[in-house]
């Protein structure tokens, strides 16, 4: 895929963690390449320990890969200056995994959502900021009467909506979703997935969606990559990967979903 079509391009990224003392290091990412199409939804599946979380952390600039490049637009995130990152932070947002631990318990819902506007100096007027917070919360189905609540007073599903609003408020173009429904009740999962689907269409978002749940990825992503032991073992359209899995590991994953 060329840079016309891809919003995010991960090119031959490698990362290993150094071991303690004489023990050798562990290779977590081994020349991983992957793209997220503009306006597309790229799923990334793999068991825990497969390296998918590390890849996500590389994309978010939390971990620095040893080799390779990660292009967002034409900026190489691995070598980007902090000035470049300021812009990127606004456009690349994270929907976290665990809505219980990912919201600061000392901040109210209003403060949590407002923070992006403050740190990116997007709205100097307090009044306007509040309006935008209310608007964004409304977009994810949280009423303005919740503004002064603390996260602990809300349910898991509500918290995840707040987390999504927090990511949405800066007007991002790429949403990186780190198993966004795995910590939620099954009955709530579908609601949150539908919400993400709606928002993607409404705001022209691109999604990088990480999960170990094939059913969830199948629902939301038209492109799928499968990771195992630090490598992408299979990638392609949803139909191709699910209908004709070529790699043993993919077959195992699919079999695991179908068995009760």
């Amino acid at each position: 895929m060329n840079s016309e079509e891809a919003l995010l391009r991960v090119v031959e990224v490698s990362k290993s963690f150094r071991g303690q003392g004489r023990r050798g290091g562990v290779t977590v990412l081994d020349r991983v390449s992957m793209d997220v199409r503009r306006g597309g939804a790229q799923g990334l599946v793999g068991e825990s320990g497969s390296g998918k979380t590390t890849l996500l952390r590389c994309v978010l600039g939390l971990v620095r890969p040893e080799m390779g490049q990660i292009f967002y637009e034409d900026i190489d995130l691995v070598r980007a200056t902090s000035a470049a990152w300021r812009k990127i932070r606004r456009e690349v947002q994270l929907v976290p995994q665990d809505p219980y631990a990912s919201l600061n318990p000392r901040m109210t819902v209003g403060e949590l959502v407002e923070e992006g506007l403050i740190v990116h100096q997007m709205e100097p007027s307090r009044q306007r900021r509040r309006e935008r917070v209310v608007e964004t919360l409304g977009r994810v189905g949280i009423g303005a009467d919740n503004l002064n609540k603390y996260p602990r007073a809300m349910s898991g599903g509500q918290r995840q909506r707040v987390a999504i609003a927090r990511a949405l408020v800066t007007g991002p173009r790429l949403l990186v979703c780190d198993e966004p429904v795995s910590a939620l009740d099954v009955s709530i999962q579908a609601q949150v997935l539908n919400l993400l689907q709606d928002l993607k269409a409404a705001f022209d978002l691109s999604l990088l969606f990480i999960s170990h749940d094939l059913a969830v990825v199948n629902y939301l992503c038209e492109e799928v990559a499968v990771m195992s032991k630090g490598r992408i073992v299979e990638a392609g359209s949803r139909e191709a990967v699910f209908a004709h899995p070529r790699h043993v590991y993919t077959r195992e994953l699919i079999a695991a979903v179908r068995s009760p």
Partner: protein, 287 residues
């Protein structure tokens, strides 16, 4: 906003009414001690420094509730005036070492691995040294006075705070919401003020409350040993020094300041424990 302040006060009052009898006594004692210390000089029935040799060694009576000392000074008045020195000095000492501790812990947390290692080894050394002896030496070197004692204790007390806050901050830094804030683009200063400190501070509030209690005793000890407040200053420890020869003959000159120190130190220590229990309940409670 007066209405908000009123609502807050009403909330405080309501939580006071919900407390057990023991907690009420502890909180009540602390409030009384603080009020007496702040307004002591105004409440004192006699001049705390004026001697009246004719009335020396009067036992407790209606005129002198806690009796008079060897120079005929009213012991109650001296305790009230001295309360300001003892309590405010202790608060100043805790504030001083708290400030140093917070700076050290924060620098260690944010300064990277080497800075962290160096500072935390310094904390180990600081904790290994007996604080009282260190403070004694420092105060003696600075020249015996209340100010010297404050500086000496302030400079020797910080390692415990630094260690505690460093641990609490490390725990907080590992929380997913800190990483989330970084991804959102929150700058370091705001990260510290809005995300790290508010979530790490609880354990310190408890510690500092207890520290005030301990510091009252330590400050009195320094004065008793002669490197803190000097006679005729009515600091509680200094009063003990002056009274130490008369335990057998005029017990009240010794017992009154000793009991005052004990009650005050206990009250602050128990208040700290109370806050700790309440923290636990809040954490584990459903809401």
């Amino acid at each position: 906003m007066p209405s908000a302040a009123f609502v807050h006060l009403a909330g405080v009052f309501r939580s006071f009414m919900r407390m057990g009898i023991f907690d009420r006594i502890v909180l009540g004692t602390v409030v009384v001690v603080i009020v007496l210390a702040l307004f002591g000089p105004l409440l004192a029935p006699y001049d705390s420094l004026r001697s009246d040799i004719v009335n020396a060694f009067q036992p407790p009576s209606a005129a002198h509730w806690f009796g008079t000392d060897q120079q005929g000074r009213d012991v109650l008045s001296r305790l009230l005036v001295g309360g300001q020195i003892s309590l405010l000095s202790s608060v100043a000492i805790v504030a001083l070492f708290a400030l140093i501790g917070v700076i050290v812990a924060t620098t260690a947390t944010l300064g990277g691995r080497w800075v962290d290692q160096v500072l935390m080894r310094a904390v180990d050394v600081g904790l290994a040294l007996p604080g009282m002896v260190l403070a004694l030496g420092l105060a003696a070197a600075l020249g015996p006075s209340v100010q010297s004692a404050i500086i000496a204790l302030g400079l020797s007390g910080w390692p415990a705070t630094a260690r505690l806050l460093r641990t609490a901050m490390a725990e907080t830094m590992a929380q997913p919401y800190i990483e989330g804030a970084k991804v959102l683009g929150v700058p370091k200063a705001r990260l510290l003020l809005r995300h790290i400190w508010p979530n790490a501070k609880d354990v310190l509030v408890v510690q500092w409350t207890m520290d005030v209690g301990v510091t009252i005793v330590v400050l009195a000890s320094l004065s008793f040993l002669g490197v803190g407040a000097q006679p005729p200053t009515p600091e509680w420890g200094a009063m003990l020094t002056e009274a130490s020869g008369q335990i057998g003959t005029a017990w009240w000159t010794f017992a009154a300041p000793a009991a005052t120190i004990t009650v005050t130190a206990f009250a602050f220590g128990l208040l700290g424990e109370m806050l700790q229990m309440r923290d636990g309940q809040v954490e584990e409670g459903p809401l």
